[in-house]
Symmetry: D2
Subunit: 340 residues, 4 copies
């Protein structure tokens, strides 16, 4: 099968290509981009020597058609038009935000403009979602932060362990902001500093977290989300807390998570007493998760580490694509991280 | 006046000396340590050339006596004995934990062993504390995390803006762990990784936060605290949230904080829309603070950045010592950070 | 075929295991160590979930016997005894220094003690070495710095482009020092700082560089080598210079390197004008190389980037082992880096 | 006395302001810039709260006139016109490159365009330069790399210890490239990576190094210079080597350097056996220097650390300005670094 990548010169596009190079069933077809079209991929992704001489094409329907799967790593607002130009014989997997939200009002509030419609949500670990993705022809890959938060808290809400009043504080590496030329993303300003941004309920990933947790809980869940930028290229560490349900015990929390995650190939509940570090998941399509009950404060606390570019974007995209293409879900996806 | 520093070869001791070198009224007297006694300071603190040739002495009563102020940067459990050997003509400022907690039960639960007693708490920004410190002869310098959290939330609880159910997630640079030879503090493991530790109500700074906020609020405040380790040497960024009081508005939050902080020399409320970064406070005795109301989630969110070694330890110690010695509170303390 | 790893809890051992997990013909057998024997591998290498439950054994002949290949990642001085206990039916690949040097006097000068003997040198890219390794039963894996310097300058000396008076300055990530608990390797001291060490001809890798280059040049080559420690976990960037041979031109330099490297699977001459960054090789068994002639100063300058743990240690070890085991040289070795 | 800073929103401008805030005799007057004129300084330099509300003006003769000293931190090509508009009653200190080179041909070769003329060179540590600067009304601040190399090797060439065939490899923090919005300066690409650039005799600082060393040596000195970018915000570590003069001994090297540096306030020869780290000089106007003889390779090796923004730019500028203004050379300049 052949896979095209639109947005091949960015960070998400580069990670899609890195992982596709190790995929035994997906051959890399067209590489496209906007301003870097016409240049060799090696000028943008020098860590991918196998593709160094491949020339980047423009992102057009003609170039993308004829692939079994097209991965879109584009700025938001572009994927609907691209997808409309491709028939249902092509699986379209959108790493952007356009089709994640079900509620047009939430889209307008957080993104502005008209909602492009809703696609199946590419997080197989959510209840029922693995089956749903097997017949999908269009997939909306979750945001990197929502991936982490939903994996961390879905087991709790599915088992009724927590009240629907969630507080999340997460640290992300700078690649989450893409290859954007902004002063606050310069190495000189990032190194040696942790900073907050998008505080107070305004980050665009907030309604996506609420949508996912609400579906699992069966009752409206609200999320107070604070993202921070950490001096590292990759990785998200999300601390996710919610008031504990009455009578909850640590043993019950452990048991619920062990049961929920027993057969998940990519979400790993760490041994008791071990807490996640993003280095555990560097370059891998895995999540490292730990959970406890803060008995003093009456809160369930789940901490999760993922690689924002891998499980948080490109790896998650390929995982869902595997399902929709009838391939084994785990095919070509690394569970081994690169450390130290 | 002459100042001695016990624990001069560690990170807190080094920062005390760095700041004392710029203090116009405090002359550096004895430098002491345990295992590094007998070696020149330059072997441990090569960034302090002015003191490179000074030989470190043993930490004994004889060496420390005769100073106007003795700063202790020792592992916990040692300060009571040292202080007992020094008369009330010597101000003793303890950067360790021994005398911070008022409740012996909390001490036993979180530290174990017998409580050494309670000293005046060295955070002048707390209500009434500035005056109290002026007559102190013994001062317990707050922990670095509690410094950040108390500065961030005291204005909210003093003004009744929030419910007493606090959630704090904080990122700290590695110097907060001292010069401890542990594998997880090696550069190879720290760089490129954010990790969680002490999760679930077990971090020793938790009761100290609750003690301070409870005193301000006049009602018991509970704190769910999750610390994380970030790949930087210095700095704490703490995200501090609590349920908003009924009817709270953003304008009211801003007004209360502006009013509370108007005359504080070291706590800076940032312009609206600007969020803290630890780089703003690198090397300075300042806190950079922002606060908002998350109307969607119904929570007050205060984010604060400090330098854990400066305002969080050594700078805070000198600020309180200035008060107790009858000097201007701001004397010798930098408000200018080093960036980028 | 089955592979054992002695020293499995260290950084080199962890990298061997990471790469072996992706090797299609080598199954991971025994894992051994010294002080961490008895504990699960997951306690030391949390990025390798596939091996998390494997218990580390003591490094004994009994445990290691019966494998097709044994990789040694031990402190120097231990490999001779281990190898003596294993018959020639077991390939022994030593990542340590014991058997790299041919000259006992150089060993005594730089390492002290008695020389344990010389094994075939595991750098297939050196002239004649690829063939020699095919029949080896014992292999000495080069040091990480010598790997970089020999790959960078062998083409120059093989083609007579340079005078034998080499100056090398190299920056290494901290993992090159292993998981040693030394203050100067703490994250707090490493981050934000580049430092020099082992200056003035005293670094132990110096005679190894001279030995390799002398063999290629056919005349004694002397090397002035200065290593520096950079704030990153992985990677070596080596700047290698030598006086240009009379009449040398840039075109001749380019041509000689293109010719020498045309068929090398892991050493990549970058396009003209592109200079190496260690990020290009992160996690990969590749070298990224560029060379030019400084006409003004009359020097040939080759700059090379490798991952010290991959091509510089564990990847190089597996590459040589592949040859000795009759497997394709490239088998199981990644050429794709992880970036950004 | 009043000091103006042109280019106040950049990194060099920010560092000038940081140091001027601690200068007892220089009051900060006008702050100017180009594209950021009209905005408050706090939007660009949030680590300088004392100046947060100051509004940046356009860089015009009117705004800059009337100051005792004007510091220029502008892109090259702008300083001649600004200086021409200011009379000799104003000291002009140019942190840019325009007036460093004496040879117009070298200017044209490395920078292109017409040479703007030569100003007194602001490195008081060079022979005779301290006196020359006392009467200067225009000063060309050295480049950051030449500052490091000239301080490291001038004592050797002044004493005839080395042959005039220098090889320098230096690592710089990213702030040396300024606040330029280039992809290779993004945090995501800088962190975890060391890279080479400007290799092969093309870096613009090369002729400046040769000019300075030639003057000291009294014979033409050629320099092969390779700069590298390291994952840190600040700092230069330069390894500077040259063939040892016949018969040179380590003792003679040590003696010559001790003698040359005995009275220098800002250049510190480290104790024997201690090698420089950039962290020793973070934020300080100091250089940390060590030198040895590599007897095996016959080379003198000097390694030096400076803070590129402090001694390498803004601190050096103020040091020279102090001399030209009749103030004590050391006034207001920190010798204490910020570490860890």
């Amino acid at each position: 099968m052949r896979a095209a990548v639109a947005g091949a010169s960015g960070y998400a596009g580069g990670e899609l290509l890195r992982l596709l190079l190790g995929h035994p069933e997906l051959e890399i077809g067209a590489l496209t981009a906007a301003s870097s079209a016409g240049s060799p991929l090696g000028a943008h992704q020098p860590h991918l020597p196998a593709l160094a001489g491949r020339v980047i094409a423009d992102t057009t329907a003609e170039v993308l058609s004829g692939h079994d799967v097209v991965f879109l790593a584009l700025p938001h607002g572009h994927s609907a038009a691209v997808a409309a130009s491709l028939g249902d014989d092509t699986l379209v997997v959108d790493c952007g935000a356009d089709h994640r939200l079900a509620d047009p009002a939430a889209w307008r509030e957080f993104y502005g403009g008209e909602h492009a419609g809703t696609w199946p949500y590419g997080l197989p670990e959510l209840p029922g979602q693995r089956e749903a993705l097997k017949s999908a022809r269009r997939i909306a890959v979750p945001g990197c932060y929502p991936t982490s938060v939903l994996l961390a808290l879905a087991p709790a809400f599915a088992a009724g362990l927590a009240e629907p009043d969630v507080v999340v504080v997460a640290a992300s590496g700078t690649s989450g902001a893409g290859r954007s030329l902004k002063p606050n993303l310069l190495g000189s300003e990032v190194m040696g500093s942790v900073s907050a941004y998008g505080v107070g309920g305004v980050h665009r990933h907030t309604p996506e977290m609420e949508q996912g947790l609400t579906a699992v809980a069966g009752t409206p869940v609200r999320v107070s989300f604070t993202p921070t930028l950490a001096p590292m290229s990759r990785g998200i560490l999300a601390t996710c807390t919610a008031p504990a349900a009455p009578g909850l015990t640590r043993a019950a929390v452990r048991e619920a998570y062990e049961s929920a995650l027993a057969t998940e190939p990519f979400v790993r509940l760490l041994p008791e007493g071990v807490w996640p570090a993003t280095a555990m998941t560097y370059g891998a399509n895995t999540a490292a998760l730990q959970v406890t009950l803060d008995e003093r404060a009456g809160r369930l606390i789940a901490v999760i580490a993922i690689d924002n570019l891998a499980k948080g974007t490109a790896g998650g995209a390929i995982q869902s694509a595997n399902l929709a293409l009838g391939l084994p879900e785990e095919l070509g996806l690394p569970t081994t991280g690169v450390a130290p």
